[in-house]
């Protein structure tokens, strides 16, 4: 009972500690098993038994145990039975809880170990997982590579297949070509066999022969020669001669080409040297390589001594020297150009001397000027084009178009038109005059007839009235008048001559030349004035007037009719 009391005291200590935390904390530091009475006395003392009892009652009832003792019975008489029972219950409870604790502890240990085990497993599995992941990536990589390989192999396969296909095509085409050729040969062969058979059967062979009427001479006139060793040798000789000639000509050509190329190279070298040498002197600030000096001087020497060079250049060594020197010069030129470029870029920053700056500036100025000029010219051309276009497209109506079409010839056309007009007029006039001529001729004819009749009558009269004196007078007058009549006849005869053609063939119009000739317009008898006959004064009158009118422009507008002419027969010029 002492243990249990000790235990109970421990428990109560604990509970008291809980209830009254303000109690001595030094007690809490002491282990439970070493609880002594002093502790117990802390909770329950002489004075607060009832309080303790009530408190414990409360606790017990809260825990589900029956009440420790009746309440408020004469100051704390505890029922031993209930107390013992409660204590027993508490002990049982305590034992049970200890057992549970043990179990829990074992459980906890178990689960701890389980957990450890699991952790180990986990870590192991994680490792395994990592490893397997790595493996899988490795395998993936391998798979990829293998797939690439497969693809490339497939490509190769495709290519090979294509090649095989191509080769097969080639083979098939060759095969077809072979077959074709074979067939051809077979056909020929069979034809040959047939022919051979035919020949064997035939036996009478048609002799091959040539029938010539007479042999002709050779085209070059020479006689043909026998085949001898000499001719063979001659043929050989000729053949080699031909070959040699060909080679010689080719060699000559090549020599000429070579010489030209060498000349060009020499020229190039000289020019390069000339370009480079003055520059070298002007560049003061530049460091001149000593190595460059020597070849430069060498080059000068070479340049001067050209005759020696032409001899030397035929040998290979000199050729090499030439090409090397050209290469050198070219390199120098290139370097120089690069330097110039650098300088130019520096000039833009304004860090070099005046020479280059000015030259560049002037260069740019000239370029600008030229550009301006070009622009101006272009504008000019543009305006010209526009005007031209305008001119071409402008004439919308036909008249102006027609006018403009031949505008250059307009003046001449007008003149021509005028002249045509004149010509037409004159033609008309001429026709009119011709008509008048014919009419006059006809009239003349009539008049002549009448005149003849008159004459006849007059003669008759004369004859009949002939007396010596009267006769003389009459004869004189008759002489005169016949003269006059002769005179008048003469021109008439002239006219008759002129118009004989219309008389003879009235439909026929005299040609202009005849007319003119008879009218003495054509100068076949000299000047019109030198006409002896009197009657021709009239002609001359006509002619002169006609000449004047001709001068003014073909047959003038003056309408001179023959009728008026005949009328004015006595008016000389």
């Amino acid at each position: 009972m002492a243990e249990s009391s000790l235990e109970s005291s421990n428990m109560s200590c604990n509970s008291s500690r809980l209830m009254y935390p303000s109690r001595n904390h030094t007690h809490s530091s002491m282990p439970l098993s070493k609880q002594s009475y002093s502790v117990l006395s802390a909770f329950c003392s002489e004075g607060n038994i009832t309080q303790c009892i009530s408190y414990i009652n409360q606790e017990m009832s809260s825990l589900g145990f029956p009440a420790l003792c009746n309440e408020l019975d004469s100051g704390g008489d505890l029922k031993a039975v209930s107390v013992l029972n409660n204590m027993y219950e508490l002990l049982q409870l305590h034992r049970r809880s200890l057992r549970a604790l043990e179990e829990l502890e074992t459980e906890q240990l178990k689960s701890a170990s389980h957990l450890e085990h699991l952790k180990l497993c986990n870590s192991r599995l994680k490792e395994q997982l990592e490893q397997s992941r790595r493996e899988s990536t490795g395998l993936c990589e391998r798979e990829r590579q293998l797939q690439m390989k497969v693809k490339s192999l497939q490509n190769c396969l495709k290519n090979e297949k294509e090649e095989v296909q191509k080769l097969q095509n080639i083979i098939s085409s060759r095969a077809s070509q072979y077959n074709h050729d074979m067939k051809r040969k077979e056909r020929e062969f069979s034809k040959l066999k047939e022919r051979l058979n035919q020949l064997l059967i035939d036996k009478k062979d048609k002799r091959l022969a040539i029938e010539v009427l007479n042999y002709v001479g050779r085209s070059d006139g020479k006689r043909s020669l026998w085949k001898t060793g000499k001719t063979e040798a001659r043929n050989e000789g000729e053949m080699y001669q031909t070959l040699l000639n060909d080679y010689e000509s080719r060699q000559k050509e090549l020599l000429v080409e070579n010489a030209e190329l060498k000349k060009v190279l020499q020229q190039m070298k000289k020019e390069m040297v000339s370009i480079l040498s003055p520059r070298k002197h002007s560049q003061k600030g530049e460091t001149i390589d000593d190595s460059l000096e020597l070849p430069g001087s060498e080059n000068e020497e070479e340049v001067c001594d050209s005759s020696r060079e032409t001899l030397e250049l035929s040998c290979e060594h000199a050729r090499e020297q030439l090409t090397n020197s050209i290469r050198q010069q070219w390199r120098r030129l290139k370097n120089h150009m690069e330097k110039l470029d650098n300088q130019a870029s520096l000039v833009q920053n304004g860090s070099l001397g005046d020479n280059e700056v000015i030259s560049r500036k002037s260069h740019e100025e000239t370029v600008e000027k030229l550009k301006l000029e070009i622009q101006q010219c272009k504008d000019f051309i543009q305006t010209q084009q526009q005007l031209w276009q305008q001119q071409l497209s402008c004439p919308c109506d036909d008249e102006t178009a027609a006018l403009l079409n031949d505008c250059y010839m307009l003046e001449e056309k007008e003149r021509l038109k005028e002249e045509w007009k004149l010509f037409d007029e004159q033609k008309k006039n001429f026709e009119k005059e011709r008509r008048n001529f014919t009419e006059a001729a006809i009239r003349l004819g009539h008049e002549r007839k009448a005149f003849e009749e008159d004459r006849a009558m007059w003669l008759k009269h004369q004859f009949l009235n002939m007396t010596p004196f009267l006769d003389r007078n009459k004869s004189q007058s008759a002489l005169k008048s016949p003269e006059a009549s002769e005179v008048t006849v003469a021109p008439e005869s002239q006219y008759h001559n002129a118009f004989s053609t219309p008389k003879a063939a009235p439909a026929k119009i005299p040609s202009t030349a005849d007319l003119y000739r008879t009218l003495r317009l054509l100068p076949d008898h000299g000047s019109p004035r030198s006409q002896p006959k009197n009657g021709n004064w009239q002609d001359s009158d006509v002619i002169l007037s006609r000449d004047v009118s001709a001068k003014s422009g073909f047959l003038g507008a003056a309408d001179c009719s023959i009728y008026s002419l005949v009328g004015t027969e006595s008016s000389p010029n």
Partner: protein, 447 residues
């Protein structure tokens, strides 16, 4: 351009004499010789059978008429019309007949290429040459007429014999390194002989006049090889046209390839000019379209106007794909010709049958492409200046020069077609005339 009047001939046998004075035509078995300028008939000869081949001698004195079926050759003289000569090959048969360069010997190739007989017109001698080879071009005379190269086949190997034309002596005889020799051709200067192999092997061998092998050239293996070759007039270039639609040019100094000309289906070269022939058909308005009327009108009804237009690049050239199973496919460069100054080269690719390509040799690039409406039949260069004449079988003549391209309609009645023949070569002729004879006219022309 002035055209003479139309006159008939058969078998495309129409030749101008080498001196340019006479024109000989064959109609069936008659040989008609006319004066070139007046076209008056000067002589009329009658042969024994239909003439298959006709050739002028080099001095324009004699004409050879060969009748292959009867194995006869008749020779006529212009100076003495009474002179006659008949060569009978008898049972040996006749496959080809030609003059020698001196105009006094006739070379007859017997049937099956058994031998070549050399008949002489000035002496009683007859020469035989054995084992000539039956190939594309087995016999070639040098341009100056001094030597003749003959391809032979002995013991399944190819040989070449060089004879002197003067006395028909054998000068050189050598074996060639070819599998199956297809042809021989002298260079114009007579010093180099080009020998090429069958189309199954691309190989060209160049031999010097004395039989030494100068060089070999082979562009590729296995595919079909050489189709045609052409020397330039100055002997500087050798053009090789092959089945792969390319032309390779070798230079005469190193015999190495100078350049390769391709014939692509799309022309996109910026400097080349493509001339395309455009046709404008106009039907002659005719109320009475009876058959008779049609045929007499003939020309005007079917006449088409055509002119050249310059197409902007790139241009697609029409390609005819050949049958791959058949032998001798219509692919590759089949005809090439250099201009007389060696400046230009005209080529024709069988794949693109209606185009002629003109290349500038000085600049080694394509100069012009002429695209016609019908397949091009043949083309010839003017022997005096760089002018190309070509015909396609229509009634027009097409002429290209560096200045431009024109199409000239030839006055043809009915549906005649035009062929171009080589112009006479003599230097005395100042105005070269392009001979445009007509092929056999449409036989259904009613009287």
């Amino acid at each position: 351009m002035n055209f003479s009047e139309v006159f008939k001939h058969t078998n495309q046998l129409c030749r101008v004499s080498p001196d340019g004075k006479y024109l000989a035509t064959c109609v069936q078995y008659r040989l008609v010789v006319r004066d070139v300028s007046s076209l008056q008939i000067l002589h009329l000869y009658t042969c024994l059978d239909q003439v298959t081949c006709m050739e002028w001698s080099s001095d324009s004195q004699f004409i050879l008429c060969a009748m292959y079926k009867r194995a006869l050759v008749q020779v006529w003289s212009l100076e003495q019309p009474d002179w006659h000569c008949k060569i009978d090959e008898g049972s040996a048969g006749l496959v080809s007949s030609r003059w020698s360069p001196d105009g006094r010997h006739i070379l007859n190739t017997t049937e099956f290429h058994l031998r070549v007989t050399v008949w002489s017109l000035c002496s009683k001698s007859v020469s035989y040459i054995k084992y000539p080879k039956a190939c594309q071009k087995g016999l070639d005379f040098s341009r100056d007429g001094r030597y003749v190269a003959l391809a032979e086949r002995r013991d399944c190997k190819d040989h070449v014999s060089v004879f002197v034309c003067d006395d028909w002596q054998l000068l050189r005889h050598f074996e060639t390194d070819t599998q199956d020799l297809a042809g021989v051709e002298w260079s114009p200067n007579g010093c180099v002989l080009a020998v090429w192999d069958t189309c199954l092997e691309y190989r060209v061998l160049l031999y010097s006049l004395d039989g030494r092998l100068l060089s070999t050239y082979s562009a590729y293996e296995w595919c079909l090889g050489i189709k045609s070759i052409a020397w330039s007039a100055s002997s500087q270039f050798l053009a090789i046209g092959s089945y792969d639609e390319k032309v390779r040019i070798l230079n005469h100094i190193t015999w190495k390839k100078l350049i390769e000309f391709e014939h692509p289906a799309t022309v996109s070269n910026s400097k080349a000019v493509v001339y395309k022939e455009m046709e404008r058909r106009h039907v002659g308005g005719c109320d009475d379209l009876t058959l008779h009327h049609q045929i007499t009108l003939g020309g005007s009804l079917f006449n088409t106007q055509s002119k050249y237009e310059i197409c902007p690049l790139p241009v697609q050239i029409p390609v005819v794909k050949p049958d791959s199973d058949r032998a001798n496919p219509k692919v590759g460069i089949s005809s090439m010709a250099f201009s007389v100054d060696s400046r230009y080269l005209a080529t024709k690719n069988d794949n693109m049958p209606s185009c002629v390509w003109v290349w500038d040799i000085q600049r080694l690039r394509l100069l012009a492409v002429l695209e016609q409406t019908a397949p091009v039949r043949c083309f010839q260069w003017d022997p005096r200046r760089p002018r190309l004449a070509l015909c396609t079988g229509s009634s027009k003549l097409y002429i290209w020069s560096p200045a431009g391209c024109i199409s000239v309609p030839v006055p043809v009645e009915g549906e005649g077609s035009v062929g171009v023949f080589p112009i006479c070569h003599q230097q005395e002729v100042c105005t070269p005339t392009v001979l445009v004879p007509l092929w056999a006219l449409c036989t259904t022309l009613l009287a």
